[in-house]
């Protein structure tokens, strides 16, 4: 435990620059959006307290906004506002609307009618009633709303890292993807602390005597503006080209670190989720992205893969990995899973992914069509012998593979299947597997090597060029360390690659990563 804390402390000390920058960005994001939300939300709340027939629709819309999953809301923003700070701020602002509008409305409605009646009867004007009576009396309720909104925003702002807006989410998602607990904590602990501190400070403000409500009127905007100013938009330094990399890619030696070390690539980068990365590249928000060579969106968005001429990306052959215990319990499991071995090459996988990612067909349909076409489809048997828990990471290809395996198992054995799709990144899937939460999931040899096993650099260099050596190594080590068996590879290699828009690449005559580096250095 002590050692764990020590290393976490070391990690945070090592990354203190980045940590500070991310924390400030996080505070900035939270408060700019909060400030805008207050600026719009409070007048809206006041307005619907006057025009009550509008209160239903307005609160309804604010409520619906709140129910949209945060990552989806961020996704919706991309086509409208691109990537980076703007969509993140707008999305966060929309999230903060509901508590602010609702509490302003409730606070004003809740002011004793006799008091407003007296105010009116004594000859106060509507604006005097608003500013001298209603707002001061509603202030504790309004502050409670702002408090709720702040805590929500601190939390949701972590997701801003998915659309290149920075913040503590960069560490959190990087850590999840890289199986690095310290990195996760380095993001999660400050985020939690921010939430607690702001909640505490606002609670203080809230219990401030209502007499001093006037001070709150002036103090709140000033504090908000000060905190908002922490968020300095990433200044444009370095190259004109902008690269968007996933949190996982940013931290991997076969990712951004390798690009810097081996190629000397010095490109301006932002962290972004792979869910929106391709689209952002297509819409010219980004010029270079990290991607997977079998990704269907490669075809859909007319992107081209840059040749890895110095071989920093190891082979990523996909294969199911299964707990040994389960294989022993159900001997028929392994042959059934191996039916798929050698059946899907790169181009088939890309096509299947294209159908799911771009044509929006369901993974089940795509899986079934594929097996029918390959004449591997069999009707489900009784499924009474036992249940196999299958997991997958959170992207289309894994969903398809899972559905294929589900159909194969049901058709060829008496086992039934439960699927747990969308288990985030490698760390979540792998932890679920070693903790017996799932029995198997599809993994990639390169990921097993670099993310899970993390052997020393010398070992990596000796095997990385050869796909069989990598497979043999991970198969041997997984069995020894975790009692997890790598079954036969499915056939395709879903390697990391760098991609650009086809047109831009050909205009600039960039075909390899080395040529990209030269282009950037020259400009």
């Amino acid at each position: 435990m002590n050692e764990q804390q020590q290393t976490l402390w070391n990690f945070m000390a090592q990354q203190s620059d980045k940590l500070l920058q991310q924390t400030l960005a996080h505070i900035g994001l939270t408060f700019i959006s909060l400030f805008l939300s207050i600026l719009i939300g409070i007048p809206t709340g006041i307005w619907i307290s006057r025009k009550k027939k509008w209160s239903g629709p307005v609160l309804g819309i604010a409520g619906i906004l709140q129910t949209i999953p945060s990552i989806a809301l961020l996704g919706f923003m991309i086509p409208l506002l691109g990537i980076g700070a703007r969509p993140a701020i707008v999305a966060l602002m929309l999230y903060a609307f509901l508590p602010i509008i609702r509490n302003t409305y409730t606070g004003i409605i809740g002011v004793n009618a006799a008091v407003t009646d007296a105010a009116k009867g004594m000859g106060m004007s509507p604006s005097q009633i608003l500013f001298k009576v209603e707002l001061p009396l509603a202030m504790p309720v309004i502050l409670a709303g702002i408090r709720t909104a702040t805590v929500i925003n601190v939390g949701v702002a972590t997701l801003a890292a998915y659309i290149a807006a920075g913040g503590l989410g960069e560490f959190i998602f990087g850590g999840i993807a890289l199986n690095n607990t310290n990195m996760i904590l380095a993001g999660a602990i400050p985020a939690a602390l921010l939430a607690i501190i702001f909640d505490f400070l606002l609670a203080k403000a809230q219990h401030f005597n209502i007499k001093k409500a006037k001070t709150a009127f002036i103090a709140i905007p000033i504090i908000l503006i000060a905190l908002s100013s922490f968020y300095l938009l990433p200044s444009a330094i370095g190259s004109k080209m902008l690269a968007g990399f996933t949190p996982e890619f940013m931290g991997r030696s076969d990712g951004y670190l390798g690009l810097k070390n081996k190629y000397g690539l010095n490109i301006r980068t932002v962290v972004i989720s792979d869910a929106v990365m391709y689209k952002a590249a297509y819409e010219k928000q980004l010029d270079v992205i990290s991607g997977y060579s079998t990704d269907g969106r490669l075809k859909a968005y007319d992107l081209v893969v840059l040749k890895d001429d110095k071989t920093i990306f190891p082979p990523y052959y996909a294969a199911p990995i299964v707990r040994e215990e389960v294989l022993e319990k159900y001997p028929e499991l392994e042959p059934a899973l191996n039916i798929l071995s050698g059946k899907i090459n790169d181009s088939i996988m890309t096509e299947l992914n294209y159908r799911v990612d771009y044509l929006k067909q369901s993974p089940e349909k795509v899986a079934r069509d594929f097996l029918t076409q390959q004449k591997l489809y069999k009707k489900p048997r009784n499924g009474k012998k036992g249940i196999i828990q299958m997991g997958s990471k959170i992207f289309g290809e894994q969903y398809i593979l899972l559905q294929i395996y589900a159909i194969l198992l049901k058709g060829n054995t008496d086992l039934s299947v439960e699927t747990k799709t969308g288990l985030g990144g490698t760390k979540i899937c792998f932890d679920a597997l070693t903790n017996d939460q799932i029995d198997l999931y599809p993994e990639y040899t390169g990921t097993g090597l670099l993310v899970v096993l993390q052997p020393d650099n010398h070992t990596i260099q000796s095997i990385i060029g050869n796909k069989e050596s990598v497979f043999d190594f991970v198969q041997k080590e997984f069995m020894r360390k975790y009692h997890i068996k790598w079954l036969k590879p499915i056939g395709f290699n879903n390697a990391y690659t760098l991609m650009m828009r086809k047109k831009q690449a050909s205009d600039l005559k960039i075909r390899t990563i080395s040529e990209l580096k030269m282009y950037i250095d020259d400009n």
């Binding site: 009646d117 007296a118 000859g123 009576v133």
Partner: protein, 321 residues
């Protein structure tokens, strides 16, 4: 002075107030009496335009209220509410000085006026720095009255000013109100559902039902000349007490026997009501003492038997009118 002429208020199809006309003369107190929903509060609130009349004309101090800016007009009319409506975030002193502040009085003038009002309403000066929630119900109601009086409005509207108080506090404050010199000079329109309060505080009482005025007049008019059964039944329960409270020695002066000279006299003012006299007389023991009332060298004997006889005679005189 307040004058209403053919004033009505409709809410969609219901008539809350239906074509009423009456006048409150300068310095007079008129009480609007009636059950809840009879339109009395709506009538009151139309005068300071918290409710806009649907039709008719309302004149306050010679000016048509609809022809002035509502806010300016309201600052000239004191308004007392049932649930006091004090600002919970203002101190007592700040509450009292709301209207003077709106009228942009000087600071000194406001401070002096606040002090004066606290004193007149028998509130300790230290209460000025407290918040309304720290006061008792009776104190809150007094502050509410002080606030309405602050800017010397000639006209005062009171909406069930004692309605939220317990009966004991209520009687106490009612007594105070009747003796408050600032209230004596005002033109007051007050709303209540309490018959006794209406008869005690009002120079005239205006009984309303279903948006219309049933009868308007002095207490004795309603008591002895009820215009219909509604009036009769409305005051039936407390009729006897009300009668005694509203007949004064002066009223039955001629009907009382002359006093016999003697010693050991107790004087009773002719301004007293029969009720008060009966209370005083019956409080004495065994009739050892004699009671007389003196008015302009005229001296009358006061005994229960002769009082009752005069009372009956007085009442009968109304029936023959």
């Amino acid at each position: 002075m307040i004058r209403l002429k053919n004033v009505s208020k409709f809410y969609k199809s219901t008539k809350a107030v239906d074509d009423i006309s009456f006048e409150v003369k300068e310095g007079e107190t008129v009480v609007l009496l009636g059950t809840s929903g009879c339109g009395k509060t709506t009538t009151l609130r139309m005068i300071n335009r918290l409710v806009e009349p649907s039709s008719g004309k309302i004149v306050v101090n010679g000016q048509n209220i609809l022809e002035q800016p509502a806010e300016k007009m309201r600052r000239g009319i004191g308004y007392v509410l049932q649930h006091h409506g004090l600002f919970p975030h203002y101190t007592v002193a700040e509450n009292i000085s709301i209207v003077p502040n709106l009228l942009k009085w000087s600071k000194d003038k406001i401070i002096n006026r606040t002090r004066e009002l606290l004193e007149k309403l028998q509130l300790s000066q230290t209460l000025g720095d407290l918040y309304p929630s720290q006061l008792s119900g009776g104190q809150q109601q007094r502050v509410g009255l002080a606030r309405a009086l602050a800017a010397y409005p000639p006209v005062l509207l009171m909406d069930e000013p004692l309605g939220a108080l317990d009966p004991v506090t209520r009687v106490g404050i009612r007594k105070e109100f009747t003796t408050l010199d600032e209230l004596k000079r005002k033109t007051i329109l007050m709303v209540t559902h309490d018959v006794q309060e209406a008869f005690e505080l009002g120079d005239r009482v205006c009984l309303m039902d279903k948006g219309k005025i049933v009868q308007i007049g002095k207490a004795t008019d309603l008591l002895f000349n009820p215009i219909n059964d509604f009036v009769r039944s409305f005051i039936k329960e407390q009729h006897f007490q009300l009668e005694l409270e509203n007949i004064f020695i002066n009223d039955i002066w001629s009907l009382l026997p002359k006093a016999i000279d003697g010693t050991n006299e107790n004087k009773i003012s002719p301004e007293n009501s029969l009720w008060q006299v009966l209370e005083t007389v019956s409080a004495r023991q065994q009739g050892f003492e004699r009671f007389v009332s003196i008015n302009n060298n005229d001296k009358k004997q006061i005994e229960i038997a002769s009082l009752m006889a005069a009372y009956t005679q007085y009442k009968n005189s109304f029936n023959h009118e």
